[in-house]
Symmetry: C2
Subunit: 461 residues, 2 copies
């Protein structure tokens, strides 16, 4: 009989996930990653660098750059797009702000985490100060994203009861960033445990700040906190051993009924990075299927023709996050379902130009937004939407998008990502500089010294 | 009939507390503070400076100083006790770490917030870089503490359902610190609103990190975040208008059923600062009534005599936070009820010397801790405890402490605070330097330039 051991299994103690994750992180190696994960890591990095270029001259970033310049900081790492070097944590903050501010960064759709920003910004800052090979860098990037997304799963996936108020990237971003930097530092298991714990102790952010500059601030702060946590841990600053899973710990305060197995089960075999999506449109990803539907219908209309009425059916989360009928600023427009649906008909496009103030205030856009209605439909997936349009002549058109462009089932191709990169580099780099940088990003794992090579291509050295 | 207006009153919308607090902060003035509040503000500052001196050479702080030195930072503000100047946010971080790390800082007992650290550290850093009069400084300190404690009340006081896992100082400290610094900056109401919002967006920390270095890290991080929030807001970095009370906002994510009136009702007439307590013992404040009881019994014993058994009855929160029978390190001992009760009998004292490693490992202490038991008693207040002791000859002694020393009903006198200050300054300042600094702190509101005057007395300039 084996009743005793099965009894034990049923009663097993909560998993020691802080230590387990630390051990997995310490032993992670690039060559152990499957080819598909290696490729996806490079795509995530390429998308991130493009987003930094796209956002680095946004007025929000200019403010952060001025603050960073005033605070000083040893010239350890570059603020991309600006003639400023500062300490690693501050550089990570600004570069992640750049990549986040246009809402063009990637999304782990299951948890609406934007995983790459905090991790890549933290790593790039560290890699500029220290010689880090492409394989080390790519391994740490894949690792940080994986830990971040898995901790998001712990907080949000069944059986956990999620609180949609928390800004998940702000909660789990510091952990992923800290683990990634700590891996580059080659910290031992104790120090890796402390780095993860100190990062978790800085987890912060909630969604009422969306629609203001603080929407980009929270991921940027996550990047800074990740660097700081790893730096302190590397010098022997301790944290408790069970920061994540312990009583009164990270998981307990931010979730109810969470399953800790999401953190570690199948680690190294199953990769959340493969469920990470890149955005074709610079706005909340839950708006994307509606954009696809509206663009498809708009393509069937006469030039200049706009509908009399548009009725959207979307996943309930879409309305929960983007129900803003009258956005006033680009930051509000980013998360307005109505704005982007209107842009599809009035502008026949959903790109960076449609996020500008003049587009938001265009009377034709204002009028069109007012003719759009939306209802939540729990039967629709997050990457699914239905648009029903009535034209002025009474004709009715209907399009059902089963999977949005850029979703896991209909991913952005490498060529799509290159085009997105080019559009964002426009005005920041020359065509030759852009192509050179694009080549380095595609092959990041092959670089000899990531910080040096990328910074040089950005003309930062 | 007036039924319409009373109907309206019953249905009134949630208070716009972010904007209301911002308006109150912008218009706050030192001379509008009652005398008793002005006096208590100086006592809070004096206690804080003493705690910084007591903690500034702790090994934990040495690590943080090394990290700050490496990150660089413009020499804007002093790291107290060290030959280092760095940027304001980093200086605020280290100085608050110094004041927090020995668990000797003040406590708003109703919410177990440690209010002065984040606010004073942020203000002092700002005041070193800018000429700030004593009245401006003291007003901002009183303001920051008030906002911090009131937001703690919102999260925790009835009818709110509190989550004791969150580290409340980490949640509300950034808000108090940001509002205080923003007041020194003379920000307008919009920017004050953003400063408060950006600070709230950085609220973080939970109690599973207690007993490690991260217990001091969380308040220190709060100080840093407060400075950063005010700096960014002063440059026009926006946040939403309803960060605190809005849907998916600060109050909603960190509390359930909160009453927003706690934030603003009676502001300027009722002061939470007057419910702030200073610790006579360097450990968790909920342990203090038990220490008083044990010291009183120990005073009745023969020299060298220790009890056969000690039974403690304490408020349930005491056990929830300090039920650590076998602490291994000073940071664990800080929050071990058993350690301090044992010290009262074995060492006949509960001071800084009883927090040292040699005391923790002393076999007599180990043996004594094992003879102590504790039970929670909901009938006892947080500043109340009963100790029942059985001596080796069978005699039984019992002491009931109705109000712990240092509690609101039995406050530390000015002389007590001076003695505490002197004990902490020992080894850092000469007697003459200490007395000079003590005099400046007592009269902080009368100083011409707080940063300059205090820094000079600390031999920092």
């Amino acid at each position: 009989m084996n009743s005793n051991s099965s009894h034990k299994a049923a009663q097993r103690l909560p998993r020691e996930i802080t230590r387990e994750l630390a051990a997995l992180a310490v032993h992670s190696r690039y060559l152990a990653l499957p080819d598909v994960v290696q490729r996806e890591t490079a795509r995530a990095f390429l998308n991130w660098v493009g987003c930094v270029l796209g956002g680095c001259h946004d007025p929000v970033v200019e403010i952060a750059v001025a603050a960073a310049a005033e605070a000083g900081g040893s010239p350890q790492a570059s603020v991309i797009g600006h003639r400023l070097k500062t300490d690693m944590a501050s550089a990570a903050f600004v570069n992640c702000l750049s990549s986040s501010i246009l809402a063009f960064d990637d999304t782990h759709l299951a948890t609406v985490t934007h995983p790459t920003g905090p991790v890549a910004a933290a790593l790039f800052a560290y890699a500029e100060k220290h010689p880090i090979s492409g394989e080390e860098f790519a391994n740490a990037l894949a690792l940080g994203i994986e830990i971040e997304c898995r901790m998001s799963n712990v907080l949000l996936m069944p059986p956990a009861q999620s609180n949609l108020g928390f800004f998940i990237t702000g909660l789990t971003g510091p952990i992923g960033a800290a683990a990634a930097v700590a891996r580059l530092m080659k910290l031992d298991e104790d120090r890796m445990t402390w780095a993860i714990g100190l990062a978790a102790a800085q987890a912060s952010g909630f969604r009422s700040t969306h629609g203001s500059m603080a929407g980009g601030f929270v991921p940027a702060h996550a990047a800074r906190c990740g660097v700081s946590a790893a730096m302190l841990a590397s010098k022997g600053f301790t944290c408790s051993d069970a920061t994540l899973e312990g009583p009164k710990g990270f998981v307990e305060v931010f979730s109810v009924g969470a399953d800790l197995n999401h953190a570690v089960e199948g680690f190294g075999r199953h990769f959340e990075l493969l469920s990470n999506a890149y955005k074709p449109y610079p706005c909340g990803i839950v708006i994307h299927p509606a954009i696809d539907a509206c663009l498809e219908i708009a393509g069937q209309l006469e030039e200049g023709e706009v509908p009399a009425a548009v009725a959207l059916r979307v996943n309930p989360l879409t309305l929960s996050l983007t129900d803003r009928p009258s956005p006033k600023t680009p930051l509000e427009a980013q998360i307005s379902l109505y704005h982007w649906a209107a842009a599809c008909f009035v502008k026949r496009s959903a790109g960076l130009a449609q996020m500008r103030q003049d587009c938001i205030e265009d009377p034709a856009m204002v009028a069109m937004r007012a003719r759009i209605s939306a209802v939540p439909d729990p039967a629709l997936a997050r990457d699914e939407a239905i648009a029903q349009v009535v034209l002025k002549n009474g004709t009715s058109l209907r399009v059902h998008v089963a999977h949005a462009r850029g979703s896991i089932d209909r991913p952005m191709t490498d060529a799509d990502l290159d085009d997105k990169f080019a559009a964002q580099a426009d005005g920041v780099l020359s065509g030759r500089e852009r192509d050179r940088l694009l080549g380095l990003c595609r092959n990041v794992a092959a670089l000899r010294d990531v910080g040096h090579d990328i910074a040089a291509a950005l003309s930062l050295q």
